[in-house]
């Protein structure tokens, strides 16, 4: 569905945001073993605008990449960070893993402040990059993993057993001694997952793990994440992706990021309630211009509308509405009155992608209206 879908402009409901909201008390002294494996409080990140030497000397205001992020990820869940490119997902991942320092606010991972206790945080996390260029390519995957196992202080014998088990888990046993410059992109990505799990982390951060993969390899990796990565709910996973289908398939809960702000956080069902578009009708129509179809958006009960060309000179109209509204008969009557031919009309669930666009649009509307936004 296109971004011309629109909502009634209301902010996400308090109930949807509540599971993610934490009291802002005793932030700097939160002990290890906190209720949430990952927490952020008013987290901001600003990058300098200057470059090169000027960047070193500059101290002025820069580009705001994270804008007051409040999140709380529950133990054992796969929590998705969804958003378009440049939304701030990778920046948030890097702040949580200690690769970037926040400009403001607080972030706790496994109960430790990511700035003050970076070493403790790094002992407890694994990071899976979407970038395939993160290995020593002239070494085999087993040699790479053995090197990283030593950096994690895993005893030699235990490391060997763990590497064997992980390579088996990601299906790379046969290629264990093959140099990684001979690996396919999919194999490198599976190796990255094995490395992320090497220290048996409490928390696994996965930054677009299927970004460089073809559809088949992506499906395999997704199946693997769903089946094996959470280790029966013992491990918490924070998954950043810009693929809505990935978020829908894998995540227990998710946060929608746009321009560094959380537009929504909660389950997909909660998101549907928040958006207030309770049903979507797909209407197949012909014999009418798309401009006239777009005018249907002006009907009071229409909450969202998109028009897409379909086969045999037809158009598919996706119409978002509340469940009890009589908007669909009204629309069909109007289409027929204007000379259109209605081939079919069927209700369906909103996809996550459609929800995403609705949420983003809602967020943009609020910002344009000077609202505080939908940060939960």
């Amino acid at each position: 569905m296109r971004s011309d879908l629109r909502t009634n402009g209301t902010a996400p409901s308090e109930s949807a945001a509540m599971p993610m909201t934490l009291p802002a008390t005793s932030l700097s002294s939160r002990p290890p073993g906190s209720q949430y494996p990952i927490e952020t409080h008013a987290l901001t990140k600003r990058f300098p605008r200057a470059a090169g030497w000027r960047q070193i000397l500059s101290s002025g205001e820069g580009k705001l990449v994270l804008d007051g992020i409040d999140l709380a990820v529950r133990r054992g869940e796969i929590f998705g960070l969804l958003g378009p490119n440049g939304a701030g997902k990778t920046t948030l991942m890097k702040v949580l893993s200690g690769l970037l320092l926040p400009s403001g606010g607080k972030a706790f991972v496994a109960g430790f402040d990511v700035v003050e206790n970076s070493l403790e945080v790094r002992k407890r996390i694994g990071l899976v990059h979407g970038d395939e260029r993160t290995f020593f390519w002239r070494l085999s995957v087993a040699e790479n993993l053995r090197f990283y196992a030593t950096l994690y202080r895993i005893p030699r014998r235990e490391a060997d057993e763990r590497i064997k088990r992980l390579l088996d888990l990601v299906g790379l046993t046969a290629a264990a001694d093959t140099r990684m410059d001979r690996f396919s992109t999919g194999m490198k990505q599976r190796a990255a997952i094995a490395r992320g799990l090497l220290n048996d982390p409490e928390i696994l951060l996965m930054d677009e793990p299927t970004r460089t993969l073809d559809p088949v390899a992506s499906r395999d990796v997704r199946n693997f994440i769903r089946k094996s990565v959470t280790d029966g709910g013992r491990r918490t996973v924070l998954l950043a992706t810009n693929l809505m289908s990935e978020g829908e398939q894998l995540c227990d809960r998710l946060a929608m990021l746009n321009h560094g702000r959380v537009c929504f956080a909660g389950t997909i069902d909660e998101m549907r309630q928040t958006i207030q578009v309770e049903q979507v009708h797909s209407i197949s129509v012909s014999g009418i211009e798309p401009e006239k179809l777009q005018r249907l958006a002006a009907l009071p009960a229409v909450l969202s509308l998109s028009v897409r060309p379909a086969a045999r000179e037809r158009y598919e109209v996706s119409l978002g509405a509340t469940r009890d509204s009589s908007v669909v008969p009204q629309v069909i009557s109007r289409l027929v009155a204007e000379g259109g031919h209605v081939w079919s009309s069927k209700p369906r669930e909103l996809s996550l992608e459609e929800l995403f666009h609705l949420t983003i649009d809602s967020n943009v509307d609020e910002r344009a209206n000077g609202s505080e936004g939908a940060t939960s």
Partner: protein
């Protein structure tokens, strides 16, 4: 040496040995350097008075100079080079996510390169001893007490240049210019005493000049008391450079983490 440092060493050895020509180019490098030194020693007529203190032979003077300057320069560029390489090949970020301590990372990243250069320096010195009859009366204690503070000073400079790499990415020209300058001021081709009077004070601030002078004196068989002034100078320089370099490196790392430029290349 910690297991983490050894892991870096093993990694670099495996990568180095994965190139088929590594051993050949290593041996060839040493052979070419010996050839150049021998040629220079034969064609340049050196003032033997200036060289008396160092054994009097210009080939011996050059050979020891090239061996140690190569070692020190490699020590200087190993860490910044490794950081730059890892920024470019994308392996720096996964390393920094592990609970590796800064000192382990710094030492581990430069160790293999230093061992390789030490091997080349030893080969060159052994060539001088076995085939040219130099340094038969060398004093190893004198050499050792110079080598240790010299290595610390070079290590500190290396950390300082790494801070530059982290901040501006390209420190190669700076390292190259510094290496060339110190090779001249440090006495690679001729003793510092032969430099014009007004330049000599600059060489006092160059760790290489003290290290090279002390090591050559040790090779010539001078007792530890003779090299003591060089040791004191190196200790003084290290006392300034080491804290300065650690503070600079931490500041650069923190700045890069703030700016998001840590793994930019």
């Amino acid at each position: 040496m910690s297991t983490v440092t050894l892991a870096f060493l093993r990694r670099d050895l495996l990568i180095w040995s994965s190139y088929r020509t590594s051993v050949v180019s290593f041996a060839l490098g040493a052979a070419v350097m010996i050839g150049i030194v021998y040629f220079l020693g034969q064609v340049v007529e050196a003032d033997s008075d200036v060289l008396d203190e160092y054994g009097g032979d210009y080939v011996a003077f050059l050979l020891s100079g090239f061996a140690f300057v190569d070692l020190f320069n490699r020590g200087l560029s190993a860490l910044p080079g490794m950081i730059r390489e890892q920024q470019q090949n994308g392996t720096l970020e996964p390393l920094l996510v592990t609970p590796t301590r800064l000192v382990e990372f710094v030492v581990g990243s430069s160790l293999f390169s230093l061992i390789l250069s030490s091997g080349r320096a030893i080969l060159m010195l052994l060539f001088g001893v076995i085939f040219l009859g130099f340094w038969r009366d060398a004093d190893p204690v004198s050499m050792l007490i110079v080598l240790i503070p010299g290595a610390v000073a070079v290590f500190a400079l290396s950390i300082l240049f790494s801070a530059v790499v982290i901040l501006i990415k390209r420190a190669d020209p700076i390292v190259a210019a510094y290496s060339l300058m110190t090779a001249i001021l440090g006495g690679l081709l001729f003793p510092v005493e032969a430099l014009p009077f007004w330049i000599r004070p600059f060489s006092w601030f160059v760790p290489l000049s003290h290290a090279l002078s002390g090591l050559r004196l040790g090779l010539a068989g001078h007792p530890p008391s003779t090299v003591l002034p060089e040791v004191v100078a190196l200790l003084a320089l290290s006392a300034v450079l080491l804290p300065l370099s650690i503070v600079s490196f931490n500041w650069a790392l923190s700045r890069a983490k703030q700016d998001g430029t840590l793994v930019q290349y």
